[in-house]
Amino acid sequence: MNTLNKSVFLAALLSIPMLSQAASSTEQLQKEVDALKNQNKMIMERIEASIDMMESKQSSKGHGGKGHGSKGSTTTGGYGELHYNNLDGEGGASDKNEIDFHRFVLFFGHEFSDSIRFFSELELEHSIAGEGKAGEIELEQAYVEFDLSQTTRAKGGLFLIPVGIINETHEPNTFYGTERNPIEKNIVPATWWEAGAALSGEFSKGLYYDLALTSGLNLEGKNKIRDGRQKVAKARANSPMITGRLKYTAIPGLELATTVASIDDYTQGQSAKNSATMIEAHAVYTTGAFGLRALYASWNVDGKTSGYDKQSGWYIEPSFKISKKIGVFARYNLYDNQAGTGGPGNSEKQQTDIGMNYWPHEDVVVKVDYQTQDNDNNKDQNGVNIGIGYQF
């Protein structure tokens, strides 16, 4: 037993340095594992940070456009529409058989800070502009917008008047019909932009207001409202225009809005002062596949004769989406630019449109429609309109 005890004791004595060596190497190993873990953690953190930076640059890009500029905060976009009209003229009206790249529009925007931004819209109409050419280049928006609070913002510059359904939202894939409706074109008159300042905000959930003080129409020597647009091109600024809009959208799918615009002197100081006032009201309702748009607009133009002292019109447009890509619509339009006293009595214009939109992509649309006119002067243009449009 003694010999055995001695052997055990001796073995234990001999293993002490070995155990100590093993312990030391385990400790070393643990240190290396810890160092590797730390290194791995640091690498993962750097990868995460790199991906975050890359993704934040990527996600600041505009709607399909490119984000660039000094801080990656300049955005571009645009829309365009090509129209083909094949209309037969009756009662003395001319035929219309033409193809026209009606609008080619580029957007440029820039975010100076979280609360100050710039937006612009530059449009080439009818493909080619210049002396004696059919088209023109127009600056339709160029304003700086300031957030005053979470629900209030102000803007200054050249901007679209807050009126109607298509004046502010007129990308071709957002409305039915190759051509825009004649009421908003001839009565509102869209697209209508002026220069000045505006305040927009929210009274309560879904109840919005806009108030704008801008340049106004110049109807000196002109009768139709549309002809009075000065387009902020060295525009006479003797008499500003005040525009106010109330918009209610608190029920999903429903928009109810009304706009009043008033100008104290539409002659812009060129002759005896005369005022003009417009009232517009519209409803848009979309539920499921069914849609309905209805709009009424009317101008009272003091001092005009031959019926031009009252210019008004309305339209109603039911629509139905057969599938996500195909929708059909019908639109009844009635308007009169000489509806006042002393008018010719045959100036009322009536147009009915039926047609379809096909969206091969949510931002691309192909349109086909058929228009029939029943104008009081019997000068009608009836036929087919075809268009293709896009936005990005």
């Binding site: 990527q58 955005t75 979280d114 300031f146 999903p252 596949a289």
Partner: protein, 179 residues
């Protein structure tokens, strides 16, 4: 003479109006709830550790179909606690990303909240009267569409579209994570 004074008065109103607008203090709008606060609210102030799902392979293909463009992110962060999953997602309406918090519970939408809205128009989508439409919505597995139609807001088409895509994406991704 009276006309002259009236024109001058109008001009004066114009200048005062402009002065009032631009002398107001400029404050950022659009952040309706900080994402961290949203998560605190969803998980009773104890949000779980976040996890990530990588948008690769078939997940990326489906996400591309839902968004109608390639995802701008390589991976998406989420917070998962039992059967509830919270997502903070971004999608551009017209120009700027809209940040949305979405909670999925048992493959149905429990809550949708617009956290940050940076676009110039369309911020109506942040209101409950609009987001309530998504409550309990599921994803149709055959076409990755919601099982109900969402009534839009006129003039906010692109914002509505962005929000709807994000809810579909959150529902899809929730089926792809490992519990």
């Amino acid at each position: 003479m009276a006309g002259f004074y009236r024109v001058n008065a109008m001009k004066k109103q114009f200048y005062i109006f402009i002065l009032l607008i631009f002398s107001s203090s400029v404050a950022a709008r659009g952040t309706y709830q900080e994402p961290a606060n949203f998560l605190d609210e969803v998980f009773n102030s104890k949000p779980p550790q976040s996890k990530v799902i990588w948008l690769t392979g078939s997940i990326r293909t489906k996400a591309t179909e839902i968004l109608n463009h390639k995802p701008t992110r390589l991976r998406i962060r989420y917070w998962n606690n039992q059967q509830r999953t919270a997502w903070i997602l971004d999608e551009i309406g017209k120009e700027k990303p809209i940040t949305v918090g979405i909670v999925i519970s048992n493959n149905k939408i429990e809550r949708v909240k617009v956290l940050v809205f940076r676009e110039s128009r369309g911020d109506e989508i942040r209101h409950d009267f609009f987001t309530q439409q998504f409550k309990h919505a599921r994803l149709n597995a055959n076409n990755n569409q919601l099982d109900r139609s969402i009534d839009g807001i006129s003039g906010a088409t692109l914002s509505v579209r962005a929000l709807t895509k994000l809810t579909r994406l959150a529902l899809f991704l929730s089926t792809q994570i490992k519990q």
